[in-house]
């Protein structure tokens, strides 16, 4: 199970990196979203995948899932959600102000 999840996370990373290297801003944002999904999947895999067990260590319970990765993944999901929504707004404003969503055209040395 861990192997399959790792491969899946790897595929998400690959797709994410490919999308980040595109020229269109929206594709780049989708790329970052894929990348963060890959990272999250990876965190949960690292804590060992055990189904049907509680993430609690209390007396008497010997069968439990490591709760720490679940706490980490939750934090990370919230952060990447916030950043992605910010990026979408920023992309829209960048498009409005600069009149293009092509990264090739978004470089320049006007300030020098």
């Amino acid at each position: 199970m861990e192997i399959i999840m790792s491969i899946l996370a790897g595929m998400l990373f690959t797709a994410g990196v490919y999308m980040i290297l595109q020229k269109q801003i929206l594709k780049i944002i989708i790329g970052t979203a894929l990348l963060s999904h890959g990272a999250h999947l990876f965190i949960i895999t690292m804590g060992k995948l055990n189904r049907g067990k509680p993430p609690i260590l209390s007396e008497g319970v010997t069968n439990y899932v490591d709760p720490l990765p679940q706490a980490l993944i939750l934090t990370s999901i919230v952060i990447s959600f916030g950043v992605t929504s910010f990026l979408l707004v920023l992309a829209y404003r960048t498009y409005q102000t600069n009149g293009t969503d092509n990264m090739e055209k978004l470089r320049g040395n006007e300030n020098e």
Binding site: A39, L106, R107, N111
Partner: protein
């Protein structure tokens, strides 16, 4: 008592939240900011004094026992950096009143500024690797807000790249932390330091160390990952550039310092060798960048890079002398970068252009600005008696003592070239005939010199008063070589 450790994070965080609600009333916001930065500076100074006198304060958040919960560790190194960061924040707050247009002030500059300080303090104080990621995100999200503030064409163009690069490195950070968790089974830095020696997984751990290095190198602008820095640091208004230049890259350097002195010290011949090589390239390429342009703001922004190179050189050499130099240089560099950005900002405001070729003779009308810039330039290049000298001296002495002659020489030559790059601003900008094409509307420099002078006072103090600061720094460095003190103070109880 241990609750003191969270105050440097809590005060700016709460201030920031309150300021969001008061947004419509600008005079009140300015007043609160002014008071709170000073209060915060006083509070962190007291805590720092306390920590240096009586030892590290450890706060276990939520009273969880140590390896399970998040710990905040206010050790002397972290507190010194927090105090310096708050000095910058005081100077920036007072500079902002005079330099920002009201439009930007209204659109949440002050809340974002306070949240940035909260994030930076948190990153310095945390004793948990995942929590470090969280505070990185806090300060980065605040910086995303600040960098687009005002919404000009250039800002959008450069900030998008800045954000994507930081986002990518953050995701790599999370992935690396989960790798480390899988191998070592903890994210608490003190416990990591204990266990890394025990698990006997050198190959995997070295890979993880290098992945972490890539993450922090992106944040800290190390060769070859500094390409995003110069432009994105020059597009926002001066006060924001100063904040970024003084604080953000230094957080990356601090993280490298912490991680590569506490956790990954078992394979020095690989990890620290890489640091040394990168430091050499960072020094050379950064200073070449600084010499390559005529844009004064860009020259200062490029000068951030060789400074990072010096600090990484100190970490790579990894002797008590060199590490003391690194800490000293870290303190110095935060102060001097902010001061230089301020002064250059005042120059640009005065002459109405950032192109060095169109400036000239500013010293005729603004002698104080000129001489302050001269002092700042000397301090940056590391001439005695200013603070840069002590840091560089220690780092380079460490490098020569450990037999890294090539890097030592590169460091010395770079130092000269840094002097050349900033003196070029002084000669072309301040000397010569005044090219006064600017339209005089009031005094554009007024109020901008004071914050810079305030910071330069500390540069001089750090240089002349080295005897007072140096023993503390040396103790910090000794404890970094032998981190048993840090581990004990976190793990016991």
């Amino acid at each position: 008592m241990s609750n003191l450790a969270i105050l440097p994070i809590l005060l700016p965080l709460l201030t920031g939240i309150i300021l969001v609600f008061l947004n419509k009333r600008l005079p009140l916001v300015r007043l609160i900011t002014r008071i709170m930065v000073l209060v915060n500076l006083a509070v962190v100074s007291i805590i720092a004094f306390n920590v240096i006198q009586n030892g590290t304060i450890v706060l276990k958040a939520g009273d969880w026992t140590v390896p399970y919960g998040i710990v905040l560790v206010a050790d002397p190194l972290a507190m010194l950096l927090v105090v310096t960061a708050n000095l910058i924040s005081v100077a920036c707050a007072f500079y902002a009143f005079k330099s920002l247009d009201e439009h930007r002030e209204r659109y949440y500059f002050y809340p974002l500024f306070q949240l940035l300080i909260a994030g930076v303090s948190g990153a310095f104080l945390t004793g948990d690797l995942f929590n470090l990621f969280v505070f990185f995100e806090v300060l980065l999200i605040a910086s995303y807000g600040l960098i687009v503030l005002g919404g000009t064409k250039e800002q959008f163009r450069e900030s998008f790249k800045y954000i994507i690069i930081n986002l990518f490195s953050s995701m790599l950070f999370v992935t690396t932390v989960s790798f480390l968790y899988a191998v070592v089974g903890t994210v608490n830095m003190a416990q990591l330091a204990e266990r890394v020696g025990e698990v006997q997984q050198d190959g995997v751990l070295t890979t993880i160390a290098i992945l972490l290095l890539i993450v922090f190198a992106t944040k800290g602008a190390l060769f070859p990952l500094y390409f995003w820095l110069p432009k994105s640091y020059t597009v926002p208004p001066t006060v924001i550039s100063a904040l970024f230049g003084a604080l953000l890259t230094k957080v990356g350097v601090y993280s490298i310092l912490r991680v590569f002195s506490l956790i990954f010290v078992y394979n020095l011949s690989v990890t620290h060798q890489i640091l040394l090589i990168l430091a050499g390239f960072t020094l050379v390429f950064g200073v070449i960048g600084a010499l390559s342009t005529n844009n004064v703001q860009l020259i200062i922004a490029y000068n951030i890079i060789p400074a990072v190179g010096y600090m990484i050189l100190g970490i790579g050499v990894f002797s008590a002398t060199a590490l003391a130099g690194t800490v000293y240089y870290l303190l110095h560099d935060m102060i001097i970068k902010a001061a230089l950005f301020f002064l250059v900002g005042a120059m640009v405001a005065y002459s109405g252009t950032s192109d060095l070729r169109k400036m000239g003779g500013i010293i005729k009308n603004q002698p104080l600005l000129g001489w302050l810039f001269f002092i700042a330039a000397l301090a940056l290049a590391g001439l005695p008696p200013f603070s840069g000298f002590i840091g560089k001296l220690l780092i380079l002495r460490g490098a020569f003592e450990e037999g890294h002659y090539v890097l030592g020489v590169i460091g010395l030559v770079t130092s000269l070239l840094i002097l050349l790059s900033v003196i070029r601003i002084f000669i072309n900008g301040f000397w010569g005939e005044p090219k006064s094409e600017y339209v005089s509307n009031g005094n554009p420099v007024q109020g901008k010199i004071l914050p810079a002078a305030f910071l330069l006072v500390f540069t001089v103090l750090l240089g002349l008063g080295a005897e007072f600061v140096y023993p503390t720094v040396q103790t910090i460095a000794d404890q970094m070589i032998d981190p048993i003190n840090y581990i004990d103070s976190v793990m016991k109880e």
